[in-house]
């Protein structure tokens, strides 16, 4: 079945754009954020040199907070799932470090009955910290296995439960932890070197995670879990990896904090402290490294200033009143103000790295993009590809929802490389049929085959098997750039569709007339461009079949005509078959060689456009019996 000509084109022709892109995104971002951090640190040193050594403590506290906030950012910012459990990981890691590093003579006083020979162990703080981080990573992996399986509030509540359990166990295992009585004599960090090192490493990890393949896939699931699944992105693995990486970083931050305080207790990594760290994350902007830095600085400094003012100093020629709890008021007030006025944080999606990159791109004149269109943003033409693979066949597909048969015994066959229409009035079960085909809804009866392979299981598996779809109600990844929307699908294609020859991301953008807006966030595009972007994204997956669910919904007839051309162009360019679902008979007959008509969940008629247009049953279903 496979066309022999395609076999002669080596798969490596499609260059792994993701790798080079990774470098191009990560390095400027890393450098920019490092420069920002270094600048802040320089300001901090200047400030510290002019006063009390409490200022030194403030700076190391700020840097350690930054490690924790960036740790939170890696999971929460990239996956959009709220975790309350990360400080539980920090607590376990820090206790591990403390139990190994506290001098034996102190341990025999503080926790003489500790199990596993702990009172006799005394490791160097560095070794103990590394073991602590290792334990933290293991705990994060175990918790992640549970938390990453769920999403939304379920994950939040499971992680909250974990945090509470860690605290209760630490309070109650008095022989091991000393209970609520804090464990003192933890070797302390001296000077700034470790917090500084930690902050720079944290920025490095956060930037590289964000630009890594896993990070980008995680972000796609954050943007739209369903659409990500339809692009072949599995939710679980990227989330788990994000959880483990962020857990490891938070463990590191927790250990730094305990070594900076010199003591550890069950209440140290509390729910309240979690809220404080989250506040820092959210106030700045939880999705970017720059936002995390900004929020950490804003809250830490703000609390410090209000602490100073709350003690009633003589300041600015004025004696301030003594106010109990002023820092709390600042924290709550600033968090509330930011949430109400700028829910995405003070900086929103702004990242210094992205900004610098864009500046750089704009100022660099020679940035050769294949098929760069003229200013009028025309559509490039890409050389067509031969269709490969087998037919897409559903046999006896049906589903019953609580007694109501939404789709009943539908068997259709879509030929490779052909445009097949599926039409029916509203409520005919078209979208449900697509959902059955793509695995969003489990069928009650029937099977789906692509060539020799039966499609089964979750949507992401079927997408990887070669069926890519668009959605009736537009599901682009809204806060990602246009380019990144397409590039993420391309990333999946590299791993799972490499046997197909792909069209590069730039070519797809050019083909869709989106090149000149490639750096804009997808949410800012108008309706028609979002539609084309969704198709481009689906095409980037190098599917054998494209499923387009009402691609002209809400469009005028002239726009619809343009869309007809566009769908043809894209389908030809990637050599895929197309199944178009629509209720607009005119549009479908215009575009499709072969048409299936669905009514009340069942196949009403099948045939060529002409046959269908003449079929009296179709006319009746469409126009009502009065017109028959």
């Amino acid at each position: 079945m496979a066309d022999a000509t395609t076999a002669t084109v080596p798969a490596t022709v499609s260059r792994p754009a993701s790798r080079s892109q990774l470098r191009s995104i990560a390095l400027p971002s890393l450098l920019a954020n490092w420069v920002l951090l270094a600048g802040l640190f320089a300001v901090g040193m200047l400030y510290a040199s002019g006063g009390s050594s409490a200022r030194d403590l403030l700076i190391s506290d700020l840097l350690i907070n930054l490690v924790l906030v960036l740790g939170f950012h890696i999971f929460i910012g990239n996956t959009g799932v709220l975790s309350f459990g990360h400080l539980g990981i920090a607590s376990v890691a820090a206790y591990t470090m403390a139990l190994l590093a506290v001098p034996t003579d102190r341990k025999t006083v503080l926790i003489p009955n500790a199990p596993w020979g702990i009172p006799e162990i005394e490791l160097s703080p560095l070794v103990a910290s590394l073991i602590g981080i290792g334990v933290g990573i293991v705990v994060a992996a175990l918790l992640g296995l549970v938390a990453a399986r769920t999403s939304g509030l379920a994950a939040t509540m499971i992680t909250l439960a974990f945090l509470s359990i860690v605290r209760q166990v630490a309070e109650n295992r008095k022989d091991l932890t000393g209970g609520a009585q804090n464990l003192s004599s933890v070797p302390r960090l001296e000077g700034w070197s470790w917090p500084v090192f930690g902050a720079f490493i944290a920025v490095l990890i956060a930037v590289f995670f964000r630009s890594s393949k896993t990070g980008r896939l995680a972000v796609a699931t954050r943007e739209d879990e369903l659409a990500a699944g339809a692009m072949g992105i599995e939710v679980f693995t990227p989330r788990l990896v994000a959880f483990v990486v962020s857990g490891g970083l938070v463990a590191f931050g927790g250990i730094l904090r305990v070594q900076s305080l010199g003591s550890i207790g069950p209440s140290q990594f509390s729910f309240e402290f979690t809220i404080l760290i989250l506040a820092m994350l959210v106030v700045g902007g939880m999705r970017t490294v720059t936002g995390a830095i900004a929020g950490t600085v804003f809250i830490t400094v703000g609390k410090e200033v209000t602490r100073f003012l709350g003690d009633g100093p003589d300041f600015l020629g004025f004696t301030w009143p003594v106010v109990d709890g002023l820092p709390d008021l600042f924290l709550a007030g600033s968090l509330l103000a930011v949430l109400l006025t700028r829910p995405n944080g003070l900086l929103g999606e702004f990242d210094l790295g992205g900004w610098v990159t864009q500046r750089f791109r704009r100022s660099a004149p020679a940035m050769p993009v294949p098929g760069e269109p003229a200013a009028d943003a025309g559509f490039a033409v890409v050389a067509p590809q031969q269709a490969t693979g087998g037919e897409l066949v559903t046999s006896g597909l049906g589903v019953v929802f609580g007694g109501f048969t939404a789709v009943d015994d539908v068997s259709i066959t879509v030929a490779p490389g052909r445009i097949h229409g599926l039409i029916g009035p509203n409520g005919a079960g078209k979208t449900t049929f697509v959902n059955l085909l793509t695995g969003i809804v489990e069928p009650t009866t029937g099977t789906v085959r692509l060539g020799d392979k039966e499609l089964r299981g979750a949507p992401y598996k079927r997408a990887r098997d070669g069926v890519a779809r668009t959605f009736q109600n537009l599901r682009v990844f809204p806060s990602l750039s246009v380019r990144e929307n397409v590039a993420v699908a391309d990333l999946v294609a590299h791993d799972h569709r490499s046997h197909r020859v792909g069209v590069s991301v730039d070519e797809l953008l050019a083909l869709s007339g989106l090149t000149h807006m490639a750096d804009r966030s997808a949410a800012t595009l108008d309706y028609g461009n979002q539609r084309r972007l969704e198709i481009a994204r689906a095409a980037a997956l190098r599917p054998d079949f494209l499923l387009l669910d009402e691609p002209t919904s809400g469009m005028s007839s002239s726009e619809s005509l343009e869309m007809v051309d566009h769908v043809r162009r894209v389908a030809t360019a990637i050599g895929a078959g197309v199944l178009v679902i629509d209720h607009d008979l005119g549009f479908i007959t215009n575009i499709c060689e072969h048409i299936t008509v669905l009514d009340q969940g069942a196949v009403l008629a099948e045939g060529t456009a002409e046959e269908i247009q003449r079929d009296p049953r179709v006319i009746e279903a469409y126009l009502g019996s009065g017109h028959a």
Binding site: L82, R149, M157, A161, S164, D328, L331
Partner: protein, 295 residues
């Protein structure tokens, strides 16, 4: 057996307070996907109102309605000032907003009154015990259970018969569809906050009569219990919240009397482990929310 029944009565008494709070939490989740951690602050304002009035020797009977009213007003105020502005935001933003309000409330009481607790004495009825057969029945437990049952029945009737109740139910099913059918979003949400505030005020009155103390952070603990109760019952489900609250109250008492003493400190952990397992086994079923988004 006597012990078993005795525990059951005690557990129902505690659980009825949790359940009253949990119904409010669950209702707000239903209409706007908000887990409202600021809900506990309605207890705090009630406590300070009672303290203020009792220290001026105003009778208990007069203070309780005022305390309940203050909870209703604060609930509506919080909605108007804060949640109305972030109504369409993500669950994440809503949750954090509620935390911000909670911390703000703590700070406000701390600065406005004091971090040192304020006390008011409890009326005698709060701790009266009558012996019926082998059982020691606390009058206040009976009062709590009776008031709670009356509230639940009232809530059920309200939801079924009034226009407002219908709107709430419609909004909980599918807010967008409800709006298309003419439900006024602001009015429904504001009403839901008022109603949840009323239940919280009543729960607060029951609870405060015994506690006899107002302090800035007092609301956090019972609210956490109520959230747990609402989660056990399935957020968004009001009967679920009642069941969740009562079973949490009962579970606590049984854990306390049956667990060996060195494990008693871990009572909450056991509850959490059970919840976590429930979530992993059936995350959708527990949440009782239309998770199959329209595609």
């Amino acid at each position: 057996m006597t012990q078993f029944v005795q525990n059951l009565i005690d557990g129902l008494g505690n659980g009825s307070t949790y359940a009253l709070l949990a119904v409010g939490v669950s209702m707000l989740f239903g209409v706007m996907h908000l887990v409202n951690f600021a809900h506990g602050e309605l207890l705090t304002i009630g406590a300070y109102v009672i303290y203020g009035m009792r220290s001026n020797d105003i009778s208990w009977w007069a203070t309780i309605p005022v305390a309940i009213l203050s909870a209703v007003m604060l609930s509506m105020l919080i909605e108007f000032v804060a949640f109305r502005r972030v109504r369409t935001a993500s669950a994440f933003t809503l949750l954090l907003t509620s935390f911000a309000i909670e911390i703000l409330s703590h700070a406000a009481w701390r600065i406005g009154v004091s971090s040192t607790p304020r006390r008011f004495e409890a009326p005698d009825i709060a701790f009266k015990v009558v012996e019926i057969g082998p059982f020691n029945i606390e009058v206040w437990d009976v009062v709590s259970i009776a008031v709670a049952v009356a509230c639940f029945i009232g809530t059920a009737i309200m939801l079924r018969t009034t226009m407002f109740g219908l709107s709430i139910r419609a909004a909980s099913e599918d807010f967008d569809a409800a709006r298309l059918m003419g439900v006024k979003a602001n009015r429904v949400i504001s009403g839901a906050f008022a109603f949840a505030g009323l239940l919280a005020g009543i729960a607060g009155a029951i609870w405060l009569v015994r506690r006899g103390q107002a302090d800035p952070r007092m609301g956090a603990e019972p609210l956490l219990k109520a959230v747990i109760a609402a989660i056990i019952g399935g957020l968004g489900s009001l009967p679920g919240a009642v069941v969740g609250g009562l079973s949490l109250g009962i579970a606590e008492v049984y854990f306390r009397s049956w667990l060996p003493s060195d494990l008693q400190g871990l009572t909450d952990s056991f509850v959490f482990v059970v919840i976590a397992i429930l979530f992993v086994v059936r995350p959708q079923g527990l949440f009782n929310v239309q998770s199959a988004e329209r595609v």
